[in-house]
């Protein structure tokens, strides 16, 4: 069954081709069956290939489909590579992707571009599968770019609103900055190790590089640049909140469950290189820690339900980076998986709420919805408990692992641990703020739950995953170096569990009891400044505007008349002037020619006489 692996990325691609080549003329039912069915079929094959992989007790399996390019010494194959990590990723992408597709058939029902939506979604899943199954960095980069392209297409899906187009371009350009770093990183790695195959390159690097050497630092830093761009970490995180302009299933699929985890996957995949550059590895953790705090504070001030969730995604991926930074590779992948479940659940439930509220996304216009939207309420609560890592829910297992690894890490992990703990408090605070604002308080608007098997069905499955995914054992032992088991003391564990709950308590005290007038707090004096600072992602957008956009537009303004072009235009004008003078002499009068011949002769004679 393992040789069926190639079908996993190919089937969604076929789905994309069918949907695209019919130019969106397919009726909604057929488009839905092709769109969601291709992912479902892909999941079936992923499951078959995966179970025979696990049964075969091998550490990795690779399948070469064809030689992609062969230039000189470089031979890049279209080769799929399956091991524990790519297996987990493959399951997450196809499984959760399938549920999201099914949900989307309900959510997007009636949209005039229904088929176009599913063709983009299928292409996205196909690209993401190529990314995680790639055996070499060139193929991985192709999937990486494909994912970026689909992200652009899907964010700007409702292209008639210019703002959506702006958001799509912003996401595209911001991730492109990271991609440029990554491409240079790939070149450097290739020059140094002479191969693009990931496993070979890591072996080669281990043999050649000295720990902490320049080349190791450079390559890992450049790859980190790519990962930071794709995974929306500081300082390239500003695109993700704007990416919420797309339809909600997109937000669930791309900006929560799969695409943004590509950076985490990349670093985990090339972890050997990061072990050779400990400073950069620590930097990964620091970036994660700062990002998770920044996103936590920002999530606390947002009023758009999807943006709160977007920042919570940024924050959770910060946790994954933190885990990578302290060498807890498998914990990062584990958190990636559990996060995919509860974040997809949260986003899709948010989609249901938005549908029920007739496309209202402002949480201050919701409130008291727990009676009207019983399904959404229950599902959202499960998702929230997963997100805040409530004991027993999936997020709990993965996040505790990360925090325990950070605490026991000797090289400065303690600071990361404290940041993570503070972040956990923030997670409670902003998650329950969102939950209480939507479902408690005074009811202002009526909502009517939109029901349907293809809406609630996937949500229930995701909810089951969000509760129980913590008990899944991910098969990554052979991939990552052995990690010692962490057994923090009972006191430390209690602190890790109970301290963050204070955040939830605070949220209850503020938003349900109404003990603090938040509007007054955020409306004046220092509170207003702080609110503004947090709301604007610590002023990152403002900063980019000042240091990049403004100088750029200034330069464009100065160069409006193209002063470099004017050199070329000038030479063209001089030539044209000469041409006009010369063409004046071409009168068509024969006698003028005769005269000029005569004068020329005279001139020659005079010259001959004089000289």
């Amino acid at each position: 069954m393992l040789d069926l692996l190639w079908l996993v990325p190919v089937i969604p691609f076929i789905g994309f081709l069918i949907l695209t080549l019919t130019f969106g003329k397919l009726p909604q039912l057929a488009a839905g069956i092709v769109g969601a069915g291709s992912i479902g079929l892909s999941f079936v094959f992923a499951f078959l290939a995966g179970s025979s992989f696990l049964g075969a007790e091998i550490s990795s399996y690779s399948q070469t489909l064809w030689t992609w390019m062969s230039v000189g010494d470089l031979e890049v194959g279209f080769t799929l590579y399956l091991d524990g990590v790519s297996l987990v990723m493959m399951y997450v992408i196809t499984g959760i992707g399938f549920l999201i597709h099914v949900y989307a058939t309900g959510y997007m029902s009636g949209d005039p571009s229904f088929a176009r939506f599913f063709s983009y979604m299928n292409l996205f899943v196909s690209a993401m599968l190529i990314l995680v199954l790639a055996d070499n960095l060139a193929l991985l980069f192709m999937g990486w770019e494909g994912v970026g392209l689909c992200s652009y297409l899907l964010i700007g899906f409702w292209y008639k609103d210019p703002n959506n187009g702006y958001c799509a371009r912003k996401a595209f350009v911001m991730t492109r900055v990271g991609d440029a770093f990554m491409a240079i990183g790939l070149f450097t790695l290739f020059v140094s190790t002479g191969t693009l195959n990931i496993q070979e390159a890591m072996l080669e690097a281990e043999a050649q590089w000295v720990v902490g050497s320049g080349v190791a630092t450079a390559v890992t830093l450049l790859l980190l640049g790519g990962a930071v761009g794709k995974s929306a970490q500081l300082p390239l995180q500003t695109w993700l909140p704007d990416a919420m302009a797309g339809p909600t299933p997109i937000s669930a699929l791309i900006h929560a469950a799969t695409m943004v985890t590509a950076g985490v996957y990349l670093i985990a995949r090339t972890h050997v290189l990061y072990l050779l550059a400990p400073e950069v590895q620590y930097l990964v953790g620091v970036i994660g820690a700062i990002t998770l705090l920044m996103a936590g504070f920002t999530a606390l001030t947002q009023s758009d339900i999807k943006k709160v969730l977007a920042f919570s995604t940024v924050s959770q991926i910060g946790y994954m980076f933190l885990a990578l930074g302290v060498g807890a590779w498998s914990s990062a992948i584990f958190h990636l998986m559990t996060h995919a479940f509860f974040k997809a659940l949260l986003f899709l439930t948010a989609g249901s709420i938005i549908l029920a509220m007739h496309h209202e996304q402002d949480i201050f216009k919701m409130g008291g919805l727990r009676k009207d939207l019983r399904w959404s309420h229950a599902l959202f609560l499960i998702g929230t408990l997963g997100l805040v890592a409530f004991p027993g829910f999936s997020g709990f297992f993965s996040k505790e692992e990360i925090l325990a690894s950070a605490m026991e890490n000797h090289d400065g992990g303690y600071i990361l641990y404290l940041a993570g703990l503070l972040g956990a408090v923030m997670t409670y605070l902003y998650s329950f703020r969102l939950y209480f604002l939507v479902f408690y308080g005074k009811k202002t608007h009526d909502g009517h739950e939109v029901m349907g098997l293809h809406l609630q069905g996937p949500l229930v499955l995701l909810a089951i995953g969000a509760v129980f995914a913590g008990f899944i054992h991910i098969p990554v032992e052979g991939v990552f170096p052995e990690m010692e088991e962490h057994h923090p003391s009972v006191m430390a564990q209690a602190a890790m569990i109970l301290l963050p709950m204070l955040g939830g308590l605070l949220a209850w005290w503020v938003f349900v009891k109404g003990k603090v007038d938040t509007e007054k707090l955020a409306g004046q004096g220092f509170g207003a400044k702080l609110h503004r600072f947090w709301f604007t992602q610590w002023g990152m957008d403002w900063l980019y505007d000042k240091i990049i956009v403004t100088p750029y537009t200034w330069l464009a303004e100065v160069n409006k008349n193209d002063f470099i072009d004017s050199i070329y235009n000038g030479s063209a004008r001089a030539v044209r002037f000469c041409h006009e003078v010369m063409s004046e002499t071409q009168t068509g009068q024969l006698r003028w020619y005769a005269i000029s011949i005569a004068y020329g002769l005279l001139l020659l004679v005079v010259l001959g006489v004089l000289l």
Partner: protein
């Protein structure tokens, strides 16, 4: 009765060449200024004959026969040229009813 002796005075070469030059320039001015095609042809003949004259003057001065041969060649050339050109002029006149070269000039720059 004694016959008066007539001494043939040799015409100096400069005079001959000057005459040739004057004739040449007259012809050229005619070519440049005349509008009628027939007059232009006549002026061309004058220019040809001016060069012929220059050849003869030179040949008699140096006592060489080459110049005379050259003049014969120019003469035959001129005869052929006149024959062809007059034929063309006749044709042109029949077609266009004019010999004004400003009217006939169709090549514009």
């Amino acid at each position: 009765m004694e016959m008066p002796t007539v001494t043939m005075q040799v015409i100096p070469m400069e005079h001959g060449l000057l005459l040739a030059a004057i004739l040449f320039i007259m012809g050229m001015v005619g070519v440049l200024t005349r509008r009628n095609l027939v007059f232009i042809l006549m002026s061309l003949e004058i220019m040809l004959n001016a060069t012929g004259l220059a050849f003869i003057v030179a040949s008699s001065h140096w006592g060489q026969v080459d110049g005379q041969i050259m003049f014969l060649m120019i003469l035959s050339l001129a005869a052929a040229e006149v024959a062809v050109a007059l034929g063309l002029v006749l044709q042109l006149f029949q077609k266009r009813k004019t010999l004004d070269i400003n009217v006939l000039g169709e090549m514009k720059g």
